[in-house]
Symmetry: C2
Subunit: 390 residues, 2 copies
């Protein structure tokens, strides 16, 4: 029986993680849940999984949950609450699935408490990957990726010699605008950019998928998770999203992980590790699928991913600044305050203007991200260009 | 420094293995070579790699080699010679690359002598897989596959739990007749069937590739090499031969190995194991390649592979009989004594008429194969049908 805490339990990953838990009641026990504002869904989860402790975004939401939760359920709130869930003494595994920079402190708390972490919170690695990996190493804590790409790389690395890796190859769906000509990109509306072909995800990550910034952030994540420098991390566009990612070894051999597009695969892999669970998902039938296609990414139309390489080159706080700038720029695009192509422009401006410092603490990483956000906001405010969709 | 013996050194696999040895002179030393009739090529190899012992097919060839070999080179002959090379006390690794049933005794000798074996001789597993794997287990000997498909499966299994394998998926190029309509198959000439799209191999294996019998024999090989029953071994046709094979796990996740079509990949993987060697081969560039296609195999046009499943179901000597029958039928097809479609017909007849016995010795496996060959010969002789190309 593995006792788990799930941070971000009412989000997409959290809900699917609890689906996995529900399928294997003899393997998992839910010790704690941390959610945001969705009290009704959290209450359902509390009734079904009976955690000892839960946390919500603020005290008002906590009061609402306390009023209806079964007696004996400890209800906390705020970031301190999420941190308490993450470091609960009874938790033997923490799934870190709070999205955005908001997930960083609780991820860090789980590591400091010596808990193995299933990491679905990309920003933890983007903002403070080097720091967190050093802390995890010091604590002897395993960090198991939950992103489908990084889970694929993990599955393609186990049993092989790390010293023999030539490069990591992240696959990218190419997003909803993969075939859109360069001339049309500036006029793309949020509605169009939100139509992801393969994965149903939140708005921020779907736009990041359309700009390929998401793939850039995954390059940063891979750089720290697997200790492979960015010069040896490549991206290949693969619209079917069947090959989830690959590792090339020094002899030219490539090991890849393939599967259907269902996040319960990587979630259950991380949760069950080192055991796999017999998920009752439809098998991947390549014979029926017929074909898999691949193409190089196009930096002329989708320059955002190249900024991630640049941020890694700059080092220190640069990836955090880029991440914050992207959050603000994507929000501005969704609010029709900037155009699709201006997302990358704004991020590039902020990144190049930033004076890099080493990341010595989680607080500093968060401050750098916040700085990036503010700087991007400023630039969006100053845009002369009439944005699309107005 | 790994001391190696190479059985079948003048054949395609042997030559490529020596190419690998030549690239890494600080890693490998050639202790012994066993060849057939190609004395000139063997002499070149002797001069370059300075083995202590070599063997050729017969005493006449041995005399020719002795006359020109550098002093101190021991020159043996016949199967006893190959067996002596395979079990040479100084060899720490044996590459078994003699083709056909002729390779079985020397493979078995290497195992009995406790040498790790790189297995390129498919027939060893087809004729006596259960027996040899039991002997290898008893001797604590590793058998490392050199077929690209089985090497891919090996690379997709390392580090994962064997108990969590749901199925093995062997890829098949589909061979030169993949798109040939059923009605045209009976009239296919040896010339046409010998045009393999991806691999340059010997005639027998190229015809086996056209009938898909080769894939069936690989199913038998996989069944014993990896201890997975045939019900859980699938075939998918993949004309590009880029995905070399795959393993599906209980959670639906598929791990695959990909690479260019160059046998030096799997050869060096087996020879270097557990280390990979930095081969200077062109990398696989999926972005440039563009697409990979897959289709189910067609048992109506290519029934030969289904006979391998049937032979495993029958058990005991049945796979050996099938292998022998196929050798004779392919030879008859190449000699225009039977049609392309009659290869599978003859094999099916021989297989179903065979009275199965357990395989208790290498001799018995060889006798069963010889029996299959004779029975197939008889049936070819009795064919009323006017074969193609006459």
């Amino acid at each position: 029986m593995k006792r788990v805490a799930i941070l971000g339990s009412t989000g997409s990953i959290g809900v699917q993680a609890l689906d996995v838990v529900g399928r294997f009641p003899d393997r998992f026990e839910v010790v704690g849940l941390a959610a945001g504002r969705n009290a009704p869904r959290l209450l359902e989860q509390i009734r079904r999984f009976r955690p000892r402790v839960v946390s919500v975004c603020d005290e008002a939401a906590a009061r609402a949950v306390r009023a209806e939760a079964p007696p004996g359920t400890e209800v906390l709130s705020g970031e301190a609450g999420a941190v308490a869930v993450a470091s609960h003494p009874d938790a033997a595994f923490v799934l870190a699935a709070i999205s955005g920079g908001a997930g960083l402190r609780s991820t860090a708390a789980a590591i400091e408490a010596g808990k193995p972490v299933g990491l679905a919170n990309k920003e933890s690695m983007v903002l403070a990957g080097e720091l967190l990996m050093a802390r995890a190493a010091a604590k002897g804590v395993a960090i198991l990726p939950v992103d489908s790409e990084h889970s694929a790389i993990h599955q393609s690395l186990v049993g092989h010699n790390r010293g023999e890796v030539r490069r990591l190859i992240l696959t990218a769906s190419g997003g909803p605008l993969r075939c859109t000509p360069a001339a049309e990109l500036a006029a793309v509306t949020p509605e169009r950019a939100l139509k992801h072909p393969n994965w149903s995800m939140g708005d921020k990550i779907t736009i990041d998928s359309a700009t390929l910034m998401n793939k850039g952030l995954e390059v940063i994540e891979a750089r720290w998770l697997f200790g492979v420098e960015q010069q040896r991390i490549d991206i290949v566009v693969h619209p079917e999203s069947v090959v989830h990612s690959m590792v090339e070894y020094v002899d030219g051999s490539i090991v890849a992980q393939l599967g259907i597009s269902d996040m319960r695969g990587p979630i259950s892999y991380a949760m069950g590790h080192p055991e796999r669970m017999p998920l009752d998902l439809p098998p991947l039938d390549l014979g029926r699928l017929g074909k898999l296609t691949f193409e190089p990414p196009d930096p002329a139309r989708f320059p955002a991913y190249t900024l991630a390489y640049r941020a890694l080159e700059l080092g220190g706080t640069a990836p955090a600044v880029l991440s914050g700038a992207d959050e603000a720029a994507v929000a501005a695009f969704l609010a029709r305050r900037c155009s699709f192509t201006q997302i990358a422009d704004v991020c590039a401006d902020v990144l190049e203007a930033h004076v890099v410092e080493p990341v010595r603490s989680v607080e500093q990483a968060l401050a750098a991200s916040e700085h990036g956000r503010r700087e991007a906001e400023k630039r969006v405010g100053a845009l002369a260009h009439a944005p699309a969709g107005r």
